[in-house]
């Protein structure tokens, strides 16, 4: 159905009238644009806030400044090429973006990767979690004013990235997952190095705990700020550490069936009853520690065998649809892959990203808070712009 010119201009006039009324009715206060270029937002996010003194009256996030058209891009590419692109959605948790997509395609095609590949996939997935959340631990410090923790976060993240480079060739974008397994096996000495790096990450977590969590100023800035009640969080579709910090015991690694190796190891889901910014920081800190324990256990029990199932040279996925979601570092990430049986890539691929849903709670959450707390809340929700805008 085409939209006529008349309909278009009426729509635009209506929007303008709405905007004018909103502006005219509120005679006091200041409209501030935490613009696309701002040190506090993790990328090009724009939040229009209306302030009364230092308190927020309403807040409106405007996203889309980083929209790259992923869902359209994948329609014209083949499966192996899509793995390359999809790395760049949540650029800090690199490998974790590829996994749900590959699992969905394996589901459609009807192949299962050998156990060694599944275990190594899980190891890389947890390393992506450590890399991503490790940066968060430092980043929250910077948003609050502590300049040093973020340098420690980058320094200790380097070790994880170097491990990824020695195994996959790429630090930020491994592009390692293939339909049916992984691209190649690990190089010699990787397991021992990984164990050393995991120990380093645990020391880093202890350092962050001393530097930030125990710090009274940090606690005063984050306790009781940005409380998300349990039901509101569930209604808005929050996922990941955000909802676990509000007391909801839900983790897709444990609760949904997945061919990856989480069921083979002994680990714990961390929750916190408070639901404030401090709780979200604390839950993520514990998750990093837990991830290092998971990786250690996986390294101990790594099965031997082939790294790739028997796959033809040209992949032709039969007609069908599949939905797979996993517990990514930022939350629940899912791919809905629709194949029409043709020789190329998927017919349509819908990408459900966690940050896009997480950010919808921002208008509700920011009502009545002070300006510094805006930054604290945005930092504690932890979204990545590539994840919101795709």
């Amino acid at each position: 159905m085409t939209v006529t010119e008349h309909q278009q201009s009426t729509y635009i006039a209506g929007q303008a009238a709405d905007a004018r009324i909103r502006f005219e009715l509120e005679t006091e206060g200041m409209t501030l644009n935490l613009g696309p270029q701002h040190p506090a937002t993790h990328g090009t996010l724009r939040i229009v806030v209306r302030l009364d003194g230092e308190q927020v009256v309403w807040a409106d996030p405007v996203c889309g400044y980083m929209h790259r058209g992923y869902e359209k891009l994948v329609e014209v590419r083949k499966y192996q090429q899509i793995t390359t692109l999809v790395n760049r959605i949540d650029w800090l948790g690199h490998f974790a973006n590829e996994v749900p997509f590959i699992l969905a395609v394996e589901d459609l095609y009807g192949v299962e990767a050998p156990p060694r590949a599944q275990w190594i996939r899980t190891i890389f997935f947890e390393m992506a979690r450590i890399a991503n959340l490790g940066l968060f631990l430092g980043d929250m410090g910077v948003q609050l004013g502590a300049l040093t923790p973020v340098f420690f976060a980058f320094r200790d993240r380097e070790h994880v990235l170097n491990l990824m480079e020695s195994a996959t060739g790429g630090r930020f974008h491994p592009n390692f997952d293939r339909v049916g397994g992984l691209k190649e096996d690990l190089p010699k000495g990787w397991v021992d190095e990984c164990r050393t790096v995991m120990k380093r990450q645990r020391d880093f977590c202890d350092e962050m705990e001393e530097l930030l969590v125990g710090n009274e100023i940090f606690q005063k800035r984050t306790r009781g700020i940005g409380v998300i009640p349990r039901q509101i969080g569930l209604d808005y579709g929050l996922s990941g550490a955000n909802i676990r910090a509000s007391g909801v015991d839900w983790d897709l690694r444990r609760d949904s069936p997945s061919p990856l190796a989480w069921k083979e190891v002994d680990w714990k889901v961390w929750t916190h009853p408070d639901g404030d910014a401090f709780a979200r920081y604390w839950v993520r800190l514990q998750e990093v520690r837990e991830a290092t324990k998971i990786v250690d256990q996986l390294l101990d029990g790594l099965p031997s065998g082939p790294i790739m199932a028997k796959m033809p040279a040209r992949l032709r996925v039969p007609r069908g649809e599949a939905w797979v979601s996993t517990e990514n570092p930022l939350g629940e990430m899912g791919y809905y892959v629709v194949s029409d049986g043709g020789p190329g890539g998927p017919f349509r691929c819908k990408i459900r990203t966690p940050s896009f849903n997480n950010i919808h709670i921002v208008p509700w959450l920011l009502k009545g808070v002070y300006v510094p707390d805006i930054i604290t809340i945005l930092a504690s929700l932890y979204f990545i712009l590539g994840d919101i805008d795709r």
Binding site: H38, P39, Q143, G145, A146, T148, L212, N215, I217
Partner: protein, 349 residues
């Protein structure tokens, strides 16, 4: 002509004043550069597990000098809707307050620009001139973020003036004089005896005035708008607070003002609490005494600044209302208690 210059009596008031003004004008950027390099560039870098500037000069000592030259050659930009005159004057007001602070600080037995009888009172009074400068900067920038930074600064700086002043009152009571040379002299003559067991000669007031010292340092941290009290320049929120719209040499003035004031407050803290330019052992007279005084004072300034910057790089920042609560509900009552205790002890002992 050289004969004419030599024939001029160097001890005339005009020449001496010009010399003093010249020394202070040279001292402000020098002090700012030294503090900036040692603490901001090198200490901060090592605390963050990195090296800091290494290329400009050996270990990057010339980095700030080249930064200064870079700032000087930048375009002088005025925002479109800004108030040009106020915008241009604001950095000068801040520098003025810094400059006036250096007048009363003694660096040796004879090295002081003007030993006013109301030394410390004058110093604290002129240090609050910078508030006006910051407000002018925030308002005239025609930028909402700058305005917020300026307003926050006004609230914070005025609130922390009080603990600053009250902490000093304890020292003044104990020394018996407001003049800074007099306070140094009183500390030099102050021998602390522990119940007649042993005596520590003239170590300064920081043991008897320990709480005053702590309160003074916290208030200094707030006056310099350093983390944890750096709401006015909250980098990750307001970009650069009230300084956002300033570029080129005007920004350089703010920067030099900030670090020059840090140097001056370090000197004040050393003079009031650590004994100033005096050390109890091996102090000479005359020119050697002056030189010794300068070196001793410089060392004490470095020690005090170390703590100031150490705290700056470690802690996150307070929110504005928490900051104010801390000042009004905790620091001011504590400093009043300190005055009371000092007065009682002074009368009793």
């Amino acid at each position: 002509m050289i004969a004419a210059l030599v024939a001029v009596d160097v001890t005339t008031y005009g020449w001496v004043t010009a010399l003093k003004v010249g020394v202070v004008l040279a001292l402000i950027p020098a002090g700012a550069l030294i503090l900036g390099y040692v603490f901001l560039m090198k200490m901060m870098s090592h605390m963050q597990s990195r090296l800091g500037p290494m290329e400009a000069g050996p270990h990057g000592v010339l980095q700030l000098v080249f930064d200064g030259i870079k700032f000087l050659q930048k375009e002088d930009i005025f925002p479109d809707r800004s108030d040009r005159r106020v915008f241009a004057l604001a950095p000068l007001v801040v520098m003025l307050s810094t400059f006036l602070l250096y007048i009363v600080i003694p660096a040796g037995p004879r090295l002081v620009v003007e030993d006013l009888d109301t030394g410390i009172f004058f110093a604290l009074a002129v240090s609050s001139l910078s508030v006006i400068g910051i407000l002018m900067a925030g308002w005239s920038s025609a930028n909402k973020f700058s305005l917020m930074g300026g307003l926050r600064a006004a609230g914070q700086l005025i609130a922390y003036e009080l603990p600053l002043v009250l902490a000093v009152v304890g020292v003044v009571i104990q020394a018996g004089t407001l003049s800074l040379q007099g306070i140094v002299g009183a500390q030099a003559a102050f021998d602390m005896s522990f119940f007649g067991l042993f005596t520590i000669p003239s170590i300064g007031y920081f043991i008897p005035q320990f709480f005053g010292f702590i309160i003074f340092m916290i208030a200094v941290q707030a006056e310099l708008t350093q983390t944890p009290f750096d709401m006015p320049v909250a980098e990750s929120e307001l970009v650069a607070g009230f300084m956002t719209e300033y570029t080129g040499f005007r920004f350089l003035f703010f920067f030099m003002g900030e670090f020059g004031t840090a140097f001056a407050f370090g000197a004040l803290a050393s003079t009031l609490f650590l004994g100033g330019w005096y050390i109890p052992f091996g102090f000479h007279d005359g020119l050697l005494g002056d030189l010794q005084g300068v070196i001793v004072l410089f060392t004490k300034i470095m020690i005090v600044s170390f703590f100031v910057f150490w705290v700056r790089f470690t802690y996150p920042r307070f929110r504005e209302d928490q900051l104010q609560t801390f000042a009004w509900k905790w620091l001011i009552p504590l400093s009043l208690l300190n005055i009371l205790a000092t007065a009682v002890f002074k009368v009793v002992f």
